[in-house]
């Protein structure tokens, strides 16, 4: 009877707090150093989380921890980390057809593919990246087709997409790179020129569609077209277009495309972006830089560990990513990406910003995540030392005010 009663409570709470949560405890986190990313770091800081949201941030000696709060301690406390571009949840750990949903090869232009229809919240690699303190993922369709589909923003906690989702459609993912070119004779796009021609034609189509849809008489309205509907949202600047481009000429083409259609652009990959600092700066485009250990050949042959530092120095907003991995390892860990950036020109706090507040701003979710400020989501990561040192451990992960991991990793 008692057990039954308990399970009723659990079920009720599950209904209130989907995502496998039992109850959102009130949590206090004490850190010898607390990086709020909304001001200088606080020595001996405290963060109170109430009902899943951050309530108080301050010096430990000026914050009173109310009775009943669970207290966690750590050497270093940061906002929950944000991976600004991943395919985790789509490109599964086994790398077999049954767990690979990051790319549909049946056509070069498929903006209608929604990320929420494929995200696997229980994928093991979600737990893997979470164990290092990554609490938010911008994930979805991978580079590889001209327009490969939509992306979504999720928390790395929750058993379903509905429990995990922060933004259902975050961006439309496009690829201006040899990755999207077909080598078979007669298949398009086969060249850089054709890639641009096809993209432009599609956006022109979307312009026409939007015009007809918004102005025509009811009986003359065009049939619904899922792909063009999404592109109209890009044309309206409701959704950014995230374009993967690495060679300088592909980056230049990307900027040209964004200008022609007045698109809100996010540059992705951007291996040779250090050659075009002025152009990227002038375009006001943020950059999500490729993972550092992509292989230095082909379009990546000129990649550099110092790209983040060069862009940042030029005043260009920068975030880092785990990206898409086709083989072993099946994902990068954005914490290690930031570590390498910190070792190659970024300051510690700039590197941390690139996986917290700066990433949140680029993705448009800085109202909820990315810094430790009152009313933001209770997402915190705890470490037993400098988070960037490979030998430190992530000792705690808190998402939406829930302590989801305390196993040192």
């Amino acid at each position: 009877m008692k057990r039954q009663f308990e399970s009723v409570i659990v079920l009720t709470l599950l209904a209130i707090f989907p995502g496998g949560s039992i109850a959102v405890a009130q949590v206090a986190v004490l850190g010898k150093k607390v990086y709020t990313m909304a001001g200088p770091p606080i020595e001996n800081g405290a963060v109170l989380i109430r009902e899943g949201k951050i309530a108080v941030v301050g010096k430990a000696d000026s914050v009173t921890i109310p009775d009943g709060y669970r207290v966690l301690r750590a050497e270093v406390v940061t906002p929950g980390l944000i991976d600004a571009h991943s395919t985790v949840g789509f490109s599964g750990i086994y790398n077999h057809p049954h767990d690979q949903d990051q790319l549909e090869h049946s056509g070069p232009l498929q903006p209608e593919l929604r990320a929420i229809d494929a995200y696997n919240a229980r994928e093991q690699l979600v737990a893997w990246v979470r164990s290092f303190g990554i609490t938010t993922l911008h994930t979805g369709h991978a580079p590889g087709e001209l327009i490969s589909g939509q992306t979504t923003i999720v928390k790395t906690w929750g058993d379903t997409i509905d429990a995990a989702v922060v933004v259902d459609t975050a961006a439309v993912a496009a690829t201006l790179s040899p990755l999207a070119q077909k080598s078979d004779k007669g298949k398009s796009p086969g060249t850089r020129g054709k890639m641009m021609a096809m993209l432009r034609a599609e956006f022109v189509k979307a312009q026409e569609y939007m015009k007809k849809r918004d102005t025509a008489e009811a009986d003359k309205k065009p049939d619904r077209n899922l792909g063009l509907e999404v592109l109209t949202r890009v044309l309206n600047r409701e959704l950014p277009l995230m374009v993967t481009a690495n060679r300088a000429q592909d980056i230049t083409s990307t900027l040209r495309l964004a200008k022609e259609f007045n698109i809100k652009l996010i540059l992705d990959g951007a291996a040779e972006s250090y050659l075009l600092l002025d152009e990227i700066k002038a375009a006001g485009t943020p950059v999500i830089i490729h993972p550092s250990m992509q292989r230095a050949y082909g379009e990546m042959e000129n990649l550099s560990f110092e790209t983040a530092s060069k862009l940042r120095q030029a005043g260009i907003p920068v975030a880092l990513q785990s990206g898409y991995e086709s083989y072993v390892p099946k994902t990068r860990v954005v914490l290690f990406e930031a570590a390498l950036a910190a070792a190659n020109g970024l300051t510690f706090e700039q590197a941390l910003a690139s996986i917290t507040i700066d990433a949140a701003k680029i993705l448009g979710v800085d109202g909820r995540v990315g810094s430790l400020e009152p009313d933001k989501d209770g997402d915190l990561s705890l470490y037993d030392g400098d988070p960037f040192e490979y030998t430190s451990h992530c000792t705690g992960v808190i998402i939406n005010g829930q302590v989801v991991s305390e196993t040192p990793q």
């Binding site: 230095a296 050949y297 990649l303 072993v328 990068r332 860990v333 960037f388 490979y390 030998t391």
Partner: protein, 436 residues
């Protein structure tokens, strides 16, 4: 005549400074020396001469020859050059898709010594590599052990035995990696059967030669593949065996016992499940550490703990880059992540140096800073396991081969325009159904 004169001048021009550099000992003073053989030495001195280490110890105890060139390394850390037991750099092309077992393939016949990968390896502090043909075969050919010396041709980087023959091992693999359509095996049993069949053939070939006792009329026709396998049977050539899953690891141990070959287990993703069995067989492991598990089924239970678990079981552990799988420039990350998961610092640093030397049978020459060993060393500006530390210099046999302060070398250390080259890298598995 004129051209031969120019040739002589060239020889003299090249020869003189080299000889001069070798004549003068170099003394590195004031550094923290991590000799691997023994505890770290604060305020140490290291003297190298003619490519060898001639003295190492606490500064006060080392007598530095008066004519030695002294280099002040106060605040720096010196340790042996790193050894990668498993690399694929150099634009290699090993066995082709015609057969699953190809012991006649010599990887050095395919190497491009000008590949930018060699520069990146030096920037990462690597001085010795075991360059292997890729996987996708049960046996994909002969590997080669190289030193990252200044080189015009591939011969310049060989490590040779007393008779002048280049040294190397034999690359083998099992599990899903080497399973494919005909003529490749479809199952694990067939994989083992094909391997056994070839080694038994090699035993017979060897015995036939022995029975001929030099009588040419009784000798079998020369067979390059069999010659390669006989070197394995005679324990001259160590088998470097790609293997991931726990049962595949046990299969390798079984075959090594049957044919009495020397073997190093490579990757060993599930080695943590059979650590005691590996220890009992007294077989060393070269472990890969990557940022996440997965990418294929048999690597899905890969963990940072493998190094720690094997170390605790008493297994000799090294790491490898498997470059392109991990970038040689961040080889230290492999060791540091193993320490994160419980391996000792000493064990992890040894796993980048002396342990690898043992697995290549080169520990008498390299792997630690000891008198008489090759002067292969790196200079760092801090704790080798810290992400913030940099390899400042890499020395091979007493010659500086990488200097981070030199803009040309710096380019390879961090990348940038011109650091890569237009050439196809070797991909082990991308055309393979498993890797898709």
């Amino acid at each position: 005549m004129r051209s031969s004169l120019r040739f002589i001048l060239l020889l003299v021009g090249i020869g003189l400074p080299t000889a001069a550099a070798q004549d003068k000992p170099i003394a590195f003073t004031g550094a923290t020396i991590i000799p691997i053989a023994g505890s770290p030495i604060e305020n140490g001195a290291l003297v190298v001469h003619q490519g060898k280490i001639t003295a190492v110890g606490v500064s006060s105890a080392v007598s530095i020859p008066a004519h030695a060139q002294r280099i002040d390394m106060t605040g720096k850390v010196i340790m042996p050059g790193l050894i990668c037991t498993h690399s694929h750099i150099g634009g290699i092309g090993g066995a082709d898709s015609s057969a699953p077992i190809q012991p006649d393939i010599r990887i050095y016949d395919s190497l491009n010594v000008r590949d930018s990968g060699f520069k990146r390896a030096l920037a990462g502090g690597l001085t010795t590599l075991n360059i292997m043909p890729g996987s996708g075969h049960l046996l994909s050919g002969q590997t080669v052990y190289v030193k990252l010396r200044q080189a015009e041709t591939i011969e310049d980087i060989f490590i040779r035995d007393a008779d002048g023959n280049p040294l190397g091992g034999m690359k083998m693999a099992n599990g899903t990696n080497s399973m494919s359509e005909k003529p490749f095996p479809e199952t694990r049993s067939k994989s083992a059967a094909l391997v056994r069949e070839q080694y038994i053939k090699a035993q017979e070939y060897r015995d036939k030669i022995a029975r001929a006792t030099g009588d040419a009329s009784k000798m079998p026709a020369r067979d390059l593949a069999m010659e390669g396998l006989v070197e394995v049977l005679e324990r001259k050539r160590i088998v470097h065996h790609h293997t991931h899953r726990h049962d595949d690891i046990i299969t390798v141990l079984r075959l090594a016992k049957e044919f009495n070959f020397r073997v190093v287990l490579h990757h060993v993703s599930e080695g943590w499940k059979v650590a005691d069995e590996i220890a009992k067989a007294d077989v060393p492991c070269s472990v890969i550490v990557v940022d996440s598990p997965g990418g294929k089924l048999e690597a899905s239970e890969m963990t940072f703990r493998t190094g720690a678990v094997l170390e605790k079981a008493g297994v000799l552990v090294a790491f490898h880059t498997d470059d392109w799988i991990t970038d040689s420039r961040v080889f230290f990350r492999s060791a540091a992540l193993a320490v994160r998961a419980g391996m000792t610092r000493e064990g992890a640093l040894k796993a980048l140096t002396l342990a690898g030397a043992k697995m290549l049978d080169l520990d008498a020459r390299i792997g630690s800073l000891e008198v008489g060993k090759d002067a292969d060393l790196i200079i760092l500006n801090g704790d080798p396991l810290s992400v913030y530390s940099k390899v400042l210099e890499t020395w091979v046999e007493g010659k500086k081969r990488f200097d981070r302060g030199d803009p040309k070398d710096h380019l390879y250390a961090v990348g940038g325009y011109g650091a890569g080259r237009d050439q196809s890298p070797y991909f082990c598995c991308f055309d393979h159904p498993e890797g898709q």
